[in-house]
Amino acid sequence: MSDQTVTPPNPEGALTVAAPVRSKPTATAAFAVLVMAAALVLPFVHDKPEDLRLLSLGFIMGIGAMGLNVLTGYTGQISIGHAAFYGIGAYITANLIIEQNLTVLATLPIAIAVTAAFGALVGLPALRVKGPALALVTLGLAILVPTLLLKYGSNKGVALWKPKRRHLASPVDSLTDGQWKYLVPLVALIVVYVLTKSLVNSRAGRSLIAVRDQEVAAATAGVNVTGAKIASFAISAAYCGLAGSLSVLVRGQADASSALSYFQLSIYFLVAVVVGGAATVAGPILGGMLVQYLDDKAPEWSGNKVGMAPFILGAVLVAIVYLLPGGLLGGLRQLVARLRRPPSAPDPSPNHTPATSEVQP
């Protein structure tokens, strides 16, 4: 397969995405299949509930982070409110199970559709504001949603909805509850990963990248910028909604009691994207799992100190933006490329465009 080496003229460091480079497809694809197979087999050889649970939550973070990546890494729109969609997804699933006796799987399409619609709605103001102002609007979202859920949807005055355990149990006889709660998010993750990969490599995907890098140029080239922005908001929202729904299965509840936790989760998604690497589809998955792991283990390491996990994650975010703007996977890629290149070849450093407004004679 031919290499696509169209690199957008973007001097930015963090959150840049080169156009999909289809180099060595067989090696990476084989690796991916191997990992997926191992993951699918795991619950049958290592049936420890706590480990499986941690991994499930990691998969869920991965789905959410992939969603945010579609928006931030590929379309260049920043959001720190995506936990709102996660929350909506969780709320819908929990309530449909409680009120309508649906199975978890049956609630998924509904949650996805509703959050996608919300996402598109949020995408509308995104048309008018950019950068930090947009982040501000999405911050508002992260605060608004749990507040409204508490006020208008609360369960006897508390923003906590817990479906009965039997609704969340495994419907398949040969799978234990723990295995079921592990496999459902994993399969969802795999499906979403494959879908995202094909989106990124499609013409639609390249439109998104064009919007991110050179919006005006993209518009003149016939890209429907409005459509692209709204679509990417909708898609990323749907991913987070799915993640939220799945979280009900694993955690056993939907919780909207703290706006700060919503904001924190939104930032965790962002950390996952940046740490894992916005330059890839798989990066956010890695980032998501890392974030989940840190969130879980940090209290243990620090003697149960409240705040250790967010402190580490906040510090990691700052450090990664500086030291490894391409995230872990981005850094890995650079390393591999450097090892592969013969030592005599010059290192193609990115073009430095000076930030001056002066006309150069």
Partner: protein, 299 residues
């Protein structure tokens, strides 16, 4: 009438705090062109530091020391965390850094001053001046505390105004936000000015935080949590590069919130809706706010 006035006084009291934090945001925006998402949490850290000093010194000394330390802290943050990213020309990266700071500083406060401590011995900020009692106006009660709070913060705003408009330092700061390149050419050390801008903002936030904390019997890490939304609403409404606008808008936001909570049923229990709606409408309908000159557009 009594209810209206009481609520008005409440609104003015909170409005003064919103105005101060909004002023800090605008200072940073004017000099460096950045939204500092961590402004509230920086103020919160300053508040805790002030409290800590107050455990061993009179409160007035603590507040002043807190402001001085915050000035240094703000300048350092600009120099070490913000400037290198700015020099790389990566605005998205800088936004992310302030977001990371937001979370990290909040968590840092929880680590150094654990909430569990508060259960046996709550964090309580003494008031810098004795204020008990109220003045009666048309049947409503105006707390002395409100009068002092507003007076102090207005004084602070006035001091900043004088600094910005009547001193060479202020002129240099304003030059920086007007044209950075030309500032260099007339001999202004842009790097130093950037640090001063952030330092001033941090000091302003510190005072606001200390006063806000002294409003109730105790405070905790959630002190500034929502203030950010209110401060941003005020800054956006006033115009992100207008200090005067930030102050006026701060009071407007405070009063609007108090009125909405009292008279609009739908808002009950969720006052945060007020600033959020304000932000939403300002950004969509009039991004430059009331007095702003530039349109908020950095990416």
């Amino acid at each position: 009438m009594q209810l209206f006035l009481n609520q008005l006084f409440n609104g003015i009291e909170m409005g003064a705090v919103y105005a101060a934090v909004a002023l800090a945001l605008v200072l940073v925006f004017r000099t460096t062109g950045l939204f500092n998402f961590a402004q509230g949490e920086m103020a919160m850290l300053s508040t805790f530091v002030t409290w800590q000093i107050a455990q061993a010194a009179p409160i007035l000394v603590a507040i002043i020391a807190g402001m001085a330390l915050s000035f240094v802290g703000g300048a350092l943050v600009e120099r070490t965390l913000i400037r290198p990213m700015e020099q790389k020309g990566n605005p998205l990266g800088t936004v992310i850094i302030t977001i990371g700071l937001f979370i990290a500083l909040n968590a840092l406060c929880q680590l150094i001053w654990p909430p569990s401590r508060a259960q046996s011995e709550p964090f309580s900020m003494p008031r810098p001046w004795p204020t008990r009692g109220t003045i009666e106006i048309a049947g409503a009660q105006l707390k002395w505390f409100t009068v002092w709070l507003v007076a102090i913060l207005l004084l602070e705003c006035l001091a900043l105004y004088v600094l910005l408009q009547r001193t060479k330092l202020g002129l240099s700061l304003r030059a920086l936000s007007s044209n950075q390149e030309s500032s260099r050419l007339v001999g202004i050390n842009v790097g130093t000015m950037l640090m001063v801008g952030w330092g001033l903002a941090a000091a302003v936030g510190s005072l606001a935080g200390a006063l806000l904390a002294s409003r109730s019997n105790q405070f905790d890490v959630s002190l500034m949590q929502f203030i950010l939304a209110y401060a941003f609403a005020a800054a956006a409404l006033g115009g992100m590069d207008s200090p005067l606008g930030a102050v006026i808008a701060g009071f407007i936001v405070g009063i609007a919130e108090a009125m909405a909570v009292t008279y609009v049923d739908a808002v009950e229990g969720i006052p945060i809706v007020v600033p959020l709606l304000l932000i939403f409408f300002v950004l969509l309908l009039r991004p430059e706010g009331m007095f702003g000159r530039k349109v908020v557009q950095r990416v």
